[in-house]
Symmetry: C2
Subunit: 384 residues, 2 copies
């Protein structure tokens, strides 16, 4: 089975834009192709991650549209959707394509153009991912995150400040990421005093609505060695689903699918959690970054909030988390996120992150579809 | 690389129903799992083909939802979208998963629940797949098919009757398929006198709006041999895209992506077109079945319409086409179609088609996304 390497990445500016979805996808893809130096190869596959181009943009067949925009015919092309885990799912599909030996060059692009709708329409579109029998009772992702936060605080004595500090940290990181949506320093007080969304979580505990796209180029390690002196491989990847119905789950202070996906990824990469040196986690809400940092084995159960207070997850900490600014401050164009996470780890491992660069040869991404319904954990490392 | 086998299939009744999309997908999937005898294995992957569950059903994350419905956690799950080629694309993804050696048991389900919207809303949703710069001028799939029909009739002297006879034949076949949407014998005169849609094509030249789902189970040939005395393998598969913008194409009387996808599939299967003994083609409009029968190499260019008139593609002809009734009469629940085509060929090769059974050990499906934008050709045969 060939080793799968990442050999290029590209991102648009995240935020609100007048550009259309296909333009965003094409911009990120062209940057990634240029970054890889593979302008002249024939791509075998194009996977496009996106959640709701039908509802947001009145579009379908966007993978074919992207192929047309980039003149990549006759590459096979399909859209991959797994709600907010679409990007990770598309990388998983791309990884299979190369690992199978049936494809040599694969473009994985992800994007979402959300600013076409007002906030109530957008909330409705995003709520389409919750179980219909729960949705009718008003269950949404923000309210589920609040339930998790409440349970976590009660069980482990976590302070409100620790949650807020996740947002503060990620906003600080985003200050050093020119493509991030927010370039605004915030304080713990700003978070705690921001408008309440769902008790105990407030506006600044949640990621924003974002337009943007990201892309990576995958090929074999053999090819990668000809393209760069510092090839980066996907050494582990795991994908796991959990009960779709939240009421079927026994607790909300952990995500079994994160644990299962991570187990698979660690096993494939033949490493343990403490070997990870940088990570991009799915901080749709502040509490989620903390829960994932425990479910992935970085900190003991109930220890994630202390690690945040002890600055262990900042750029200078022992395990920098969300150096890009995360979903919270870099922004969360739904379909793009899993791909953007991979871009950040790729750039960190190649030492190309400028002011937010950390010292790392092995990194991890955790991308979540639904409320832990489908989770993809990817481990990348500098090939030796 | 492991050989990939189909070991089970399931279909719902096609037509209009009160059942929801997830229920339809679950029904087809459970039938397929039961058919395979694999009730007790752990599925690695669940690929769900669907075009527009957001617009038709207010749903996203349907792959996770299906996993939940079937209790297949922690199987990886994603939706695959390639408009009307979504089903073929999902089978292609499933094939890669097994062929890569990274997955052992894969469920591929496809479905669409379209009757939630009125016909003008439905037309709008389907039109989302056309190039935005062409859509504003009123270009739709039915009008493109009419342009193809006009050009084909002019270039090759094809008669209006030949086109009509495709619909007549497929309705005849559907009479023998209990799950087909239409059980209604029609005549050439019925077609020619039906309401005009886009000259020269009329209502009966087009497939209907349909609710329905289909599913297949994929595993290795090695496993298949333990499950059945007549294992069926996917011996060839090809996926090709063409110019997304129709105005960029040089002609409309052929589909280059069909030719390219077929070339790949024939090469992989090490066979030639004349080795195919039964085929399910993408007859969204009557003219398309004729064009595909030429682009796939079954008949010489300009000879497809004569083959229809000479009854070569009926159940008793030399190459039976659309024994299921095709999109025209079996129905076309968009995301289900590519999977349903695979079901029909699988059943034919296993000799399980009852009154519509033909004598075949090797079959082909051609599933088209957009107007030839993305095409998947699959060859299946009885393993020796």
């Amino acid at each position: 089975m060939p080793s799968v390497a990442v050999v290029g990445c590209g991102l648009t500016k995240f935020g609100k834009t007048d550009k259309g979805l296909i333009d965003l996808l094409a911009e990120a893809s062209l940057k990634a192709i240029e970054d890889s130096g593979l302008e002249n190869v024939e791509f075998d596959e194009v996977y496009v991650a996106n959640m709701a181009c039908g509802e947001f943009n009145g579009l379908s067949g966007i993978a074919n549209a992207l192929v047309g925009e980039l003149s990549l015919e006759p590459a096979a092309a399909m859209k991959i959707e797994n709600t907010s885990g679409s990007g990770g799912a598309a990388i998983y599909a791309g990884w299979k394509a190369i690992a199978s030996g049936t494809s040599e060059y694969v473009l994985v692009a992800g994007g979402e153009k959300m600013s076409t709708k007002n906030s109530s329409e957008t909330a409705e579109i995003i709520a389409s991912l919750t179980h219909s029998e729960e949705r009718i009772h008003g269950i949404t992702l923000p309210s589920l995150a609040a339930l998790s936060a409440r349970q976590y605080m009660q069980l482990y004595g976590a302070s409100r400040e620790a949650l807020a500090k996740v947002a503060v940290k990620n906003h600080e990181h985003a200050l050093l990421n020119p493509l991030a949506q927010f370039h605004k320093k915030i304080t713990v007080e700003d978070v705690i005093n921001s408008p309440i969304i769902c008790d105990p979580l407030r506006l600044y505990d949640y990621c924003p609505i974002t337009d943007g796209a990201a892309a990576v180029i995958l090929t074999t390690l053999e090819n990668a060695k000809k393209l760069t002196d510092k090839p980066v491989v996907i050494s582990g990847i795991g994908y796991a689903t959990d009960y779709y119905s939240i009421q079927t789950r026994s607790r909300l202070d952990e995500f079994p699918a994160v644990k299962r996906a991570a187990e698979k990824a660690y096993k494939m990469a033949k490493i343990k959690p403490s070997d990870i040196q940088v990570a991009e986690l799915h901080d749709m809400a502040t509490i989620l970054e903390i829960l994932q940092s425990e479910d992935l084995g970085f900190f003991p159960k109930g220890g994630g909030w202390k690690a945040v207070l002890e600055d262990k997850t900042t750029l200078n900490g022992e395990l920098p988390i969300n150096t890009s600014g995360g979903l919270k401050a870099k922004g969360h164009p739904i379909g793009a996120t899993g791909v953007a996470q991979a871009c950040e780890i790729f750039l960190q491992l190649q030492g190309r992150c400028g002011e937010r660069q950390v010292d790392a040869e092995r990194g991890l991404t955790c991308n979540i579809g639904g409320y832990g319904n489908g989770v993809i954990v990817t481990i990348m490392e500098v090939a030796r």
